[in-house]
Symmetry: C2
Subunit: 572 residues, 2 copies
């Protein structure tokens, strides 16, 4: 693109609603244009990156044996009514009626649509496995769209769906897709983690699911990981252990006065104990259609509860914190709750609690705690479970590797769906014995436009974007700092040389000073800047290559330019 003739401009102002780096930079660097809340037009400079991401995704999906198709953006309500999601999907699904008064929506996802295609074409186990994907526009009517492309309403997504006659086959294809995802993110040049995710209510017990997270400080998700152990998990599902010395008993269990000390911190400071030598007592209510019961959760004093883990201990129950009123009704005094002489609550110890060690616990009396509480000595039938929230500094469950916490942006999610949709939509096939069966499904998403934003969150500095070479809109900013006609001509020729060698080049031939041009080039953040400076060139006959990421400047002769640029691009 020759800038004097092309269509690109940068902006100095940061729009008021742009609070994160990628949103600000995409607006300032002229990559996107806001049309309305959560609706963006992808301008030529931004759309090139989006298309490069699409192409890498497409190639890896094809390699993994998937066939590309395209489903309609508008889907009929009938399909969603079959699975009950017409009601369940909630407000994010934009529903409306057409002129003929038929229910329609703009697809937020396509499980129903693909299952409809499947049931009208596939009749036998012999035609399985089947893997289909599309790269298409989706719409979710977020009440509060924000963060630019990170949480827009309309977005581009790659969604793949696979169908299987057996769990073994599903697992095999799932693993192949997992690899394809790794290939995608590696090719994109992004630092990422594939984390074990929580299947949520939809998943049955052995359903696998992973989230692919692009690592970035601004990420909304917390990831517990250890490179050495090749372990990564969403903090909600992470299983780790901590290494702390248990306290030995120093005497009999006895009450101790702790006037006004209602928090772990206050009590332990007052009693001069480590916090992890006390137990935190939390009361929850578990409720289903039949009953309601209360749970006393015991954790090491400085640990936090992972509520998702507690929910899994009570499957089928809705689990919520007990209210103050409920605590009173149970005869419990907030700040002084403990496990001794409790009969009307389930008691669950976190596995991290040493059942033979001595702890400080609440005495269930105002301003009183108990010292030397040893679980095994006091509680008859002890129930334990992994309940604590993992954190940085923990160890992997084998105790060999310390884990760290990073923040990530979810850009991909792969998921074993089971037979929920094939059963719900009567998409049965004949198995080997000629009997009808509902095939198992997997689904595999990548947020294409979100990924571009995430790449920028991970790769930028105070001057602008720093594109990974694979998805930069162009390879090179060619900055001409020339005044004489002779050098303008030289610049034009050099541009031709660059593009004729197959490079994608933004040629800044605008009438503007070097400061202005370099500022724009840094903001746009192409991997390399090639500089023809008239004054310097007259002195030494050399060109300059600037590496955007490192700031390194390399002098190069015109003959060596192309090979040097290509060599550097391979590394970026």
């Amino acid at each position: 693109m020759i800038l004097s003739k092309g269509f690109w401009q940068t902006y100095k102002e940061v729009p008021a609603d742009a609070t994160i780096a990628s949103h600000q930079l995409m607006m300032r660097a002229g990559l996107i244009h806001k049309s309305a809340a959560g609706l963006y037009n992808y301008l030529p400079m931004g759309y090139r990156s989006i298309r490069k991401v699409e192409q890498i995704v497409r190639e890896e999906m094809d390699k993994a044996g998937c066939y590309e198709m395209l489903m309609s953006v508008v889907t009929p309500g009938e399909l969603w009514q079959e699975t009950g999601r017409w009601e369940k999907m909630g407000g994010e699904m934009l529903k409306f009626k057409d002129k003929a008064d038929r229910d329609l929506c703009i697809s937020p996802t396509n499980e129903e649509a693909i299952t409809d295609v499947f049931r009208k074409t596939i009749k036998s186990y012999k035609d399985l496995p089947l893997s289909l994907y599309q790269i298409n526009t989706k719409f979710r009517d977020e009440i509060r769209p924000r963060f630019g492309l990170m949480r827009g309403r309309e977005f581009i997504m790659k969604d793949a769906y696979t169908f299987h006659a057996t769990k073994e086959c599903l697992d095999e294809v799932y693993d192949r897709m997992y690899e394809a995802y790794e290939n995608v993110f590696n090719r994109l040049g992004l630092e990422f983690s594939a984390v074990v995710a929580d299947g949520g209510a939809m998943a049955d017990g052995d359903a696998k699911t992973h989230e692919f997270q692009v690592i970035a400080d601004s990420g909304e998700d917390a990831i517990i990981y250890s490179n050495e152990a090749n372990y990564a998990a969403n903090i909600e599902t992470a299983k780790t252990i901590r290494k702390v010395e248990s306290a030995a008993k120093t005497g009999s269990m006895a009450e101790v006065s702790t006037p006004g000390k209602a928090t772990i911190k206050e009590v332990c400071e007052f009693l001069k104990k480590n916090e992890f030598h006390s137990l935190k007592s939390l009361v929850y209510k578990a409720r289903n259609d039949e009953e309601e019961k209360f749970i006393l959760v015991l954790l090491l004093g400085d640990d936090e509860l992972n509520e998702l883990k507690l929910e899994k201990v009570y499957p089928g129950y809705e689990v919520t914190t007990a209210t103050d009123t409920e605590l009173k009704a149970l005869g419990l005094i907030k700040g002084f709750i403990g496990p001794v002489e409790i009969s009307n609550l389930d008691i669950v110890f976190d596995t991290q609690v040493d059942l033979n060690a001595a702890y400080v616990v609440g005495a269930n009396k105002l301003d009183m705690h108990l010292e030397n509480f040893v679980p095994k000595e006091v509680i008859k039938q002890i129930k334990t479970a992994d309940l604590r929230l993992a954190c940085s500094g923990d160890y992997t469950v084998d105790g060999k590797h310390q884990v760290e916490l990073k923040r990530g942006i979810e850009v991909g999610h792969i998921f074993q769906l089971g037979d929920k949709y094939t059963k719900g939509m009567d998409a049965t096939i004949l198995d080997q014995n000629g009997k009808a069966m509902a095939p198992l499904m997997g689904c595999y998403g990548i947020g294409v436009t979100r990924l571009v934003a995430a790449a920028i969150e991970q790769n930028h500095d105070e001057n602008g974007i720093i594109w990974p070479a694979a998805i930069a809109p162009y390879n090179v900013s060619f900055v001409a700092i020339v005044k004489s006609e002779e050098y303008k001509e030289k610049a034009n020729e050099l541009y031709k040389t660059l593009i004729n060698s197959g490079l994608e080049v933004v040629y800044d031939d605008r009438k503007a000073g070097p400061g202005f041009k370099f500022k724009d080039a840094d903001l746009l953040g192409l991997p390399l800047q090639v500089v023809l400076g008239e004054r310097d060139h007259k002195e030494d006959g050399m060109l300059e290559i600037r590496i955007r990421r490192s700031g390194e400047k390399i002098k190069v002769s015109q003959e060596d330019l192309i090979s040097k640029v290509n060599e550097l691009l391979k590394e970026l």
Copy 2:
């Protein structure tokens, strides 16, 4: 694609709603899947063709100096309200409200959206011309969607928009786009016509507009064309002449009794005259806010009126046929109307009428006509205009070339919009003198999915589709008629050889007879079929290439296979 493992199947049944060949064949050949009325999923086999069309369009747009972008599918109502089209677009625009009660619609077209992008980026004439395009999903809520992809509700369209400071610049870019369109349709391998179209109410007088029509017998549009004269026009706008000998006067103008002869045909048979020696009298009403007047149109007896041409003679008026009641009120007798002694009507002669020749006309008396009516002798102030509908057998206006009539499917439309949108949306820029001006726009559409359907309408026979090579889903159907393990292995190897040479191949390795396989291959209609027949090969060691279009069969050795296939593909 290896058919035993891939995702493709054909159907014997023609769906009840599929009435045209392309719709039937796309369904039967497994290219598309109907999701609801006018909503189609593009299956892998069909989507490959769509993407090939997209890529050819993209390359030619890029070559013409356009930049690709992508606008949101959902657009805010505000933009449409600015130009007044929120009301005017009518029911085809699918409007709805989002959760925050904002007006939205699914874009049926994007003039407003692109003008919004333009006004927020371009400020000076120096940045013009500007050419932007997108390939995107559009939606028009047709009441009666039909003909499959030909008139679906959701469809893929390429729309380009250009901006200019002067009419000269608009004309120049318009011509470049015209060429780009010719390149596109030539590369697609389609027989097409670029026809002068009618600008409709939107266009000012010198606004150029052309429709690109794919020639097909089933086309909805009639095109008048002469290859030799390089002339093509929509029948509504076509200007042609006919060559007929005028009748000389045989006596004075006199009444003649024509009892019960109320049509041209009846009168001329009765009087033993050529129909073109009579004049057809048609009465129309022209009406605007201020007045209402009646028009008597006179054409050669066997010509038809082109109502669009009449409307242009009365700009600003709504022109409709006079009702029987109105005729009576005017004192006119249906079947016997004529131009003599008429005072309360405008009289307009078609230019084809020889004003010095003698014609039979109605006498404005029941069962009476006039002979030897010579316009110049009777009518004082004669008004003439080109009013007749062109037809096959006419001549170009210079009289040198005879024209033919063909039927076409409109797949592209290029159009000079003028400043309607830039004015309407206050998208002004500064001109050379620093004064604000509203730039001129052009818009340029290609119906991508419709084009695939049109290509099939033009290229099929009773056995199925006959793809032009450039947009066939794959290049070759490889049909293996093998039984022994040895030959199955040979077929597998041959498939590898074919794909390793870069060819796109559908390998029919299914357990099925030759008849079944050839039927499917013909239906799918890839340009070439490569056949490995075990029996034949054992005899002569040769393979067979079948050309789908001609049915020709060519024996070829395995060594020559690839080069022969590539040679043939170039011609198809």
